[in-house]
């Protein structure tokens, strides 16, 4: 065991949350050390154009993702099943390496709605307590949209988000999302250039009575210089956002927005290939003293720190708490305990559309598209539908990569000359429209440690117990119907709906939006961290990321992950450092 000199702040993981926290906390003069299990990554080297636009290497062979032969999860639908380990990546792709999953995201940069943060109380208020199913364990976040707005705003301006505001300080703006929470400022950049599909979807959505607007994109529509002085290029619509790093300095990631400044700071350091395996507490169990990590050679290290921030991928945050014995593990039988509770995901469906027009879908960007948000969250009356939640409907033109994103009719042959004919006929004139729905929390959907399987470090695997529930299936089918109406109004050659499967399958890719397990709240009986993401039981430990979401909203999570990270960083700077101790009295 190699024992290192203590650092003021130790960050576990070096992705989106960690780089924001490091950038903010180094401003106080503290010495900050990030421990990242993967390798270093730079725009000019690892993401150099045109090497990076290699679908086989990145999207098929998964170069930027977690390696399941080192660590993975096991899975089962319910407690009656035996869990089995995922030996290949499936329905989600956690990142590894500097920048984490914020390197390979699309850039779909959302704010959750005011309604989402107070979901339980607003639902009870509008529809009565009986509207919430007995096994649904949704709760309020303990933080409101209004409190997070300055941090959403700051994160927008760090990332150079392109978009059209729909609500500026309460005034509804033409062309934006009329349902969104009030913004204090417009988007830093105007929307991306519209492609033909966006125009067609926009027209059709208006025709059926919806309110379409350009998707908020962490893909720059113009050159940009952010608040830290970091420069970004304008997106070239190369179509390789998802699963790829951006070589053009135009998709927001730690590399393109923070690291050029952060890595120059003498009070910051990052150790790569340092896989954290445990957080060590002192004898009282109320103070974190160090973390253990394993380097590339398999040697074990101990890194002490005064303040320890767990800021890895959501599921890893929960895993690390469980293997370190921090917080009471959740017990689904009694409903007691908190760590692993309220694991949620995302409920998605799609409609394939085959147009008469040539869409040139290879010209795209990860967040290029038009959106309908009429059926999200609290934007419509749920009373007559009998479900909670909702989602957005989108025409994303992300680039139609040739291997993985070929849209051909569902009844076309899967191989041979028939497949080739279908591909030739439809590649330029086929697309897939999406619904992106919320995922509620349930008593029987949770994370714990697998009793049988272990990772390469000897820790038990994280076990995911999860299935879709009636409420979310109803919600998703409702969204699919709304989307089908828009698809029909586009007057295509043909269309085909792909509704959500009745049971969740962890095999086909859906979204990398795993949430919960170390949720935030105002009550230590039902949350792991307080409203500042500080661990109730161990005040010098913060747990930051989508693991804090009490349930998942109908949006992509990264905008909220960024805002929560800045919110936590501010609480640490302005309050915790002055008086280290619990920021909220239990």
């Amino acid at each position: 065991m190699v024992k290192h000199r203590s650092a003021d702040v130790v960050l576990v993981g070096f992705g989106q949350s960690a780089s924001l926290l490091a950038q903010e906390l180094t401003e106080t003069g503290l010495e900050v050390l990030a421990l990242e299990r993967g390798g270093p990554r730079r725009t000019s080297e690892e993401f150099a154009i045109p090497w990076v636009q290699d679908e086989l290497r990145f999207a098929i062979r998964n170069e930027l993702f977690e390696q399941p032969h080192r660590t993975t999860v096991s899975f089962r639908h319910n407690a009656r099943q035996r869990s089995l380990p995922m030996r290949h990546l499936g329905s989600f792709n956690p990142g590894t390496g500097v920048g984490g999953a914020a390197v390979h995201w699309n850039g779909q940069h959302w704010r959750f709605l005011p309604h989402d943060f107070e979901l339980r109380s607003r639902t009870v208020e509008q529809y009565g307590a009986g509207f919430i199913p007995d096994d649904m364990t949704i709760q309020d976040w303990g933080v409101t949209y209004a409190e997070l707005e300055p941090w959403y705003d700051k994160f927008d301006y760090i990332c150079g988000v392109s978009g059209q505001a729909g609500n500026l300080r309460g005034e509804i703006q033409a062309g934006g999302n009329p349902f969104e929470g009030p913004r204090s400022r417009p988007y830093p950049l105007p929307p991306l250039k519209r492609d033909l599909l966006s125009t067609m979807f926009d027209r059709a959505a208006i025709e059926v009575g919806d309110h379409p607007f350009p998707g908020p994109a962490s893909n720059t529509s113009k050159p940009y210089k952010n608040a830290y002085g970091v420069q970004m290029g304008a997106c070239t619509y190369c179509g390789f956002c998802e699963w790829h790093g951006c070589g053009n300095y135009s998709k927001a990631s730690p590399q393109t927005t923070i690291l050029p400044v952060l890595l120059e700071k003498p009070n910051f350091a990052c150790r790569t290939h340092a896989a954290v395996t445990r957080i060590n507490l002192d004898s009282t169990g109320t103070r974190a003293v160090s973390v253990n990590y394993v380097d590339m050679q398999g040697e074990e290290h101990e890194q002490p720190g005064d303040l320890i921030i767990v800021s890895a991928y959501a599921t890893h945050n929960v895993h690390l708490l469980l293997v370190s014995g921090i917080g009471r593990p959740y017990d689904p039988r009694s409903g007691k305990g908190v760590v692993g509770r309220n694991y949620a995901y995302q409920t998605v469906s799609s409609v394939d559309v085959f147009t008469h027009e040539n869409l040139n879908p290879f010209m795209g960007a990860g967040a290029l598209g038009q959106i309908v948000d009429d059926y999200n969250s609290g934007n419509f009356d749920h009373g007559r539908h009998g479900f909670i939640g909702g989602g957005y409907i989108a025409s994303w033109t992300t680039g139609q990569r040739p291997i993985g994103q070929m849209v051909i009719p569902h009844d076309a042959p899967g191989w041979g000359s028939g497949w080739k004919r279908a591909a030739k006929e439809n590649y330029l004139r086929g697309t897939s429209l999406a619904t992106h729905g919320s995922s509620m929390a349930y008593r029987d959907a949770y994370l714990d440690l697998d009793p049988a399987y272990r990772d390469v470090y000897g820790n038990p695997l994280l076990r995911v117990t999860f299935d879709f529930h009636e409420n979310d299936l109803k919600m998703s089918d409702f969204l699919t119907r709304q989307l089908t109406a828009i698809a029909r109004a586009m007057k295509p050659r043909a269309y085909h709906a792909n509704p959500v499967a009745r049971h969740y399958s962890i095999v086909p890719y859906q979204t990398t939006h795993n949430t919960g397990g170390a949720i935030m709240g105002n009550d230590p009986e039902t949350s792991v961290v307080n409203r500042y993401l500080q661990c109730w039981d161990v005040p010098n430990l913060f747990v930051v990321g989508a693991s804090a979401f009490p349930q998942n909203a109908g949006y992509n999570p990264n905008g909220t992950v960024g805002a929560l990270s800045l919110w936590a960083a501010d609480a640490i700077r302005s309050r915790y450092l002055k008086s280290p101790g619990p920021l909220v009295q239990a």
């Binding site: 150099a48 830290y228 002085g229 420069q231 970004m232 290029g233 070589g247 053009n248 300095y249 050029p260």
Partner: protein
């Protein structure tokens, strides 16, 4: 905390100039003199040659490539045995002015004493005083790798007869005080001519062609004279200041060897000194006309260099634009830019083959990098695209052939 460092430096150096000049003997407690020396060491970019990557500051041992072989830089920390700790001030002054080491041996002019000879005695002693405050580092001396007859140090005295014009800087009565300050910095501590002035076959500066540009280490140090297209004629003083302070302006960004000069030296210099340098450089007349602003030959260029046009469209327009217009503040334009129109295309070929990084400065921290294309473009294709961009849009410059590309490919190959 680069920001804090710069502020601290500014305070220190401001102090240096309101204090009276220190005595002739450097004293370790002479705060103002040390601060002045520290600033001059930045102006002189001493670290560029005397600090190796990951090495102790100023402990030398950095290989400095010359056309005659490799010279290893000296340890200039105050170590008594392997550094310059045992040197007297007189010995230090003699080394800086005449290129003679404490033991009487000749220093090779890779050490830019032909420029430091212009530095005033006060400034040289301030540099010495600052170097005396460094942590002494005991280093291992390395033999230079020079081909005969250059390995005979005594021959340098003959070289000095031909090329060393010793003597401190004399202000030019025709110039303003600011221009003279700039001239002092450029000709003295900044030793700009060490790279930017053409060299004779013996490596001696051709002072009659001062700042007309010079090829070294497979780059071409640009013309700094008043030439409208390939020099600084089209740049305002503000443009020069912006380039030196941030590493980039609308015309060019600091890549190649200049990247390090901007990062370690000019971006950390005082604004008034950058303005003085700009004021002086703008007094330089245009040299020999080597490039030209032609008519709008876009069509002609595409016709004249069809292969170059194809290579350009396939590889370059994503960042530099179809019309060579670039992307403001991010990717440099190629139309009418000095690097593109330089009489010598070495830097352009080098950048296309191996890529090029801009400097990272406080104002522009990102260090945007163009990737290299050596792996995918043949010598013929590189020559074609270089000829195309040098003659497309409003550009007009001489052409290169594939053998010139092959030479640079060979010389810059890592393997």
């Amino acid at each position: 905390m680069r920001g804090r460092y710069i502020v601290a430096l500014a305070v220190l150096t401001a102090g240096a100039f309101i204090c009276p000049a220190a005595g002739s003997r450097p004293r370790l407690d002479s705060w103002a003199q040390n601060a002045r020396g520290r600033y001059l060491v930045i102006v002189g970019d001493c670290a560029a040659c005397h600090t190796t990557e990951w090495g102790e500051p100023f402990a030398g041992d950095k290989p400095v490539p010359t056309p005659f072989g490799t010279v290893y830089s000296a340890n200039i920390t105050p170590d008594e045995e392997t550094g310059i700790g045992a040197w007297t001030d007189a010995e230090f002054l003699r080394a800086m002015r005449h290129g003679i080491s404490a033991d009487g041996s000749r220093l090779y002019p890779a050490f830019p004493y032909p420029w430091f000879t212009r530095v005033t005695r006060e400034d040289l002693l301030a540099i010495r005083a600052y170097l005396d405050t460094l942590e002494p580092v005991h280093s291992v001396e390395r033999e230079n790798e020079l081909a005969w007859p250059m390995s005979w140090r005594f021959l340098v005295s003959g070289w000095n007869l031909l090329y060393l014009d010793s003597g401190a800087f004399e202000p030019d009565p025709e110039l303003t005080a600011e221009q003279n300050r700039g001239a002092y910095l450029v000709q003295g501590p900044g030793h700009c001519g060490a790279c930017h002035t053409p060299k004779s076959w013996m490596g001696g500066p051709q002072r009659d062609q001062a700042y007309a540009g010079n090829a070294l280490q497979n780059w071409f140090a640009a013309k700094l004279d008043g030439d409208e297209t390939s020099g600084l004629g089209a740049w305002s003083e503000q443009d020069i200041v912006e380039y030196l302070r941030t590493g980039s302006n609308g015309f060019a960004f600091a890549g190649g060897l200049m990247q390090e000069v901007v990062e370690k030296s000019t971006s950390r210099m005082r604004q008034s000194d950058l303005e003085a340098i700009a004021a002086y450089l703008k007094t330089l007349p245009p040299g020999e006309d080597t490039g030209g602003d032609g008519d709008d030959t876009a069509v002609a260029a595409a016709e004249q260099f069809p292969e170059g046009h194809r290579v350009y469209v396939d590889n370059c327009i994503g960042c530099h634009g179809y019309e060579g217009e670039g992307l403001p503040d991010v990717f440099p334009p190629l139309d009418g830019r000095a690097t593109v129109l330089s009489p010598n295309a070495t830097s352009l070929i080098h950048a296309v083959l191996r890529g090029i990084s801009e400097a990272s400065t406080e104002a522009r921290p990102t260090r945007i990098r163009m990737p290299g294309f050596a792996w995918k473009l043949s010598d013929e294709q590189v020559a074609a695209v270089v000829n195309y961009v040098r003659n497309a849009w409003g550009n007009h410059a001489s052409t290169v052939d594939a053998s010139a590309v092959a030479e640079i490919r060979e010389a810059t190959s890592a393997g």
